[in-house]
């Protein structure tokens, strides 16, 4: 994930499609394996009164494994012509990560400080760094969205949202 710094600026270069394809099919293979494994624990046969709890999961897992192996094989040995293709250029990946990583940080923020505070900060930060808006505008909008959310969910619809481990807004009494 961190190599995007090195080769930015070279147009056309990037992660190759086949590498991602292989990775994804391996993940599928893993998931399929897990499912098959668990279905044996549950009982994967057809008893006198129909299928057991693990019967369908077994075949689901099995098909996932088969499909992922075929895809893996096609990628490794096939003449799909994709192998040379680029999955994502470094510059584009940088763009994608510039949204994805802050989003991950945002979710950590929710976990720690609750949805309202994290959202206000996230929106403001996104606008400042990616949108080049003024600090004032960004913070104002971030806070406004959070307050609207608070009014809508906590007060109007009475749906309590996540307050975070530290619950910094606990003094509000919600």
């Amino acid at each position: 994930m961190e190599e995007h710094n090195e080769s930015t600026g070279v147009p056309g270069a990037g992660i190759s499609t086949s590498a991602v394809e292989i990775l994804v099919s391996l993940i599928f293979l893993l998931i399929g394996g897990i499912v098959v494994f668990d279905s044996f624990r549950l009982g994967a046969s057809w008893s006198s009164d129909g299928p057991q709890a693990g019967y369908f999961p077994f075949y689901i897992g099995f098909i996932i494994c088969v499909a992922s192996l075929v895809i893996l094989g096609q990628t490794l040995f096939g003449k799909s012509g994709r192998s040379g293709k680029v999955f994502v250029e470094w510059s584009a990946l940088k763009q994608v990560l510039s949204v994805l990583l802050p989003a991950a940080v945002y979710v950590v923020g929710i976990q720690l400080f609750g949805i309202y505070l994290a959202s206000a900060v996230y929106i403001a930060a996104f606008m400042i760094w990616l949108g080049n808006y003024s600090w004032f505008k960004s913070i104002a909008l971030g806070v406004a969205v959070s307050i609207t959310g608070f009014l809508t969910f906590e007060i109007w619809f009475q749906v309590p949202l996540y307050k975070g481990v530290f619950d910094p807004l606990g003094f509000l009494g919600y």
Binding site: D49, Q158, V159, P160, G173, Y174
Partner: protein, 336 residues
């Protein structure tokens, strides 16, 4: 040093909170924020209806300053809801309504929780179970029906019920034991669905709660054979053209000595203070006095037992043991 400081910093405010709550005068505790009312079942079921009724009553009669917010946490046969309450130790703003899955789910799935992880508040009522058949079948009594089941041989008759290894299936196994028959038990997701499947003749009988089947009973689509309690239901107003709840014989009278009632009770988070429990006990006492509640009780033919404190704990204790025995006999216990 640093650890010690962090420790004292963490604990001091906690102690202060405790000190405060202890210093507060008795029964003066009141919720300071909206109270989450956890329902360990899906929307539309019996527990859900009751919880939402209570919410409505609380609003209508202004019984509480803060609002009561029902939240369904039905995952894992209700385990999600119980684990949530178990995990919010000392949080007085969280209560849970229970059904039998308080006992059955941990036994059947091995998910670690039990009533001892919660603080008992009050028993609101006990829900009855009735043996129902389609009205177009010739069976007039439980005996007639079970004789027919016996005659047909094992697994020929289908008993529908809610969930697997939960109350409906426990009752089914109890009937099987008492009458020496064998049903095919078909689990469905909700009680209303079971009643409809019975009207549509996709199953042969059900052990629905009164409130789940009453509409079809009144319309003459279903027939009530017996109630699984040691005495008849007390409601004598005619529900159908000819019968009241009181006219349904007990299963014991009909020669099938089985009884089972389901808890509709309230628990709250562990580690709460006495005042806090007291507040909710009083709240539910007030709820029980409202005409809406009484009406609901009669419509659903509930057994209106109300218990709090030690009585309630004893009842729960006894019933946990009972469920353990029943489920052990039926082979429903989770494999370790």
């Amino acid at each position: 040093m640093r650890i010690q400081r962090a420790f004292s910093r963490g604990v001091m405010p906690l102690l202060a909170v405790f000190g405060l709550s202890m210093a507060a005068p008795a029964a003066a505790w009141e919720p300071a924020k909206p109270v989450e009312f956890v329902i360990p079942a899906g929307t539309g079921g019996g527990a859900d209806q009751m919880a939402r009724l209570i919410q409505g009553i609380v609003v209508k009669h202004n019984l509480m300053k803060q609002s009561l917010i029902p939240i369904n946490k039905s995952g894992g046969a209700g385990a999600e809801g119980f684990l949530d309450v178990k995990g919010s130790k000392g949080d007085p703003h969280k209560i849970i309504i229970t059904l039998s899955n308080l006992f059955t789910t941990p036994l059947a799935t091995g998910v670690p929780f039990g009533w001892k992880d919660l603080t008992p508040v009050a028993m609101l009522a006990l829900d009855q179970f009735v043996l129902w058949v389609n009205a177009e079948t010739p069976y007039k009594t439980a005996t007639e029906y079970l004789d027919a089941v016996k005659k047909a041989g094992p697994n020929k008759f289908k008993m529908g019920g809610t969930g697997s290894k939960q109350e409906d299936q426990i009752i089914t196994v109890a009937i099987e034991k008492a009458a020496g028959v064998k049903f095919t038990y078909v689990p469905f997701k909700g009680g209303g669905e079971v009643a409809t499947q019975l009207v549509g003749k996709h199953i042969d009988s059900s052990v629905n709660n009164p409130i789940e089947a009453v509409a079809q009973w009144r319309a003459g689509k279903l027939r009530a054979l017996c109630v699984f309690d040691d005495q008849r239901m007390p409601y004598k107003t005619k529900v159908t053209d000819t019968m009241s709840w009181n006219d349904i014989p007990t299963c014991k009278e009909s020669g099938v000595p089985t009884d089972y009632v389901m808890l509709r009770g309230i628990f709250m988070s562990p580690g709460v203070s006495k005042d806090q429990v007291e507040f909710y006990v009083n709240l539910f006492k007030k709820v029980r006095e409202t005409p809406e509640w009484k009406d609901f009780m009669e419509k659903g033919a509930f057994n209106q037992s109300f218990m709090t404190g030690q009585d309630y704990v004893k009842w729960v204790e006894k019933n946990e043991a009972l469920h353990r025995d029943l489920m052990k006999e039926a082979g429903f216990l989770a494999k370790p």
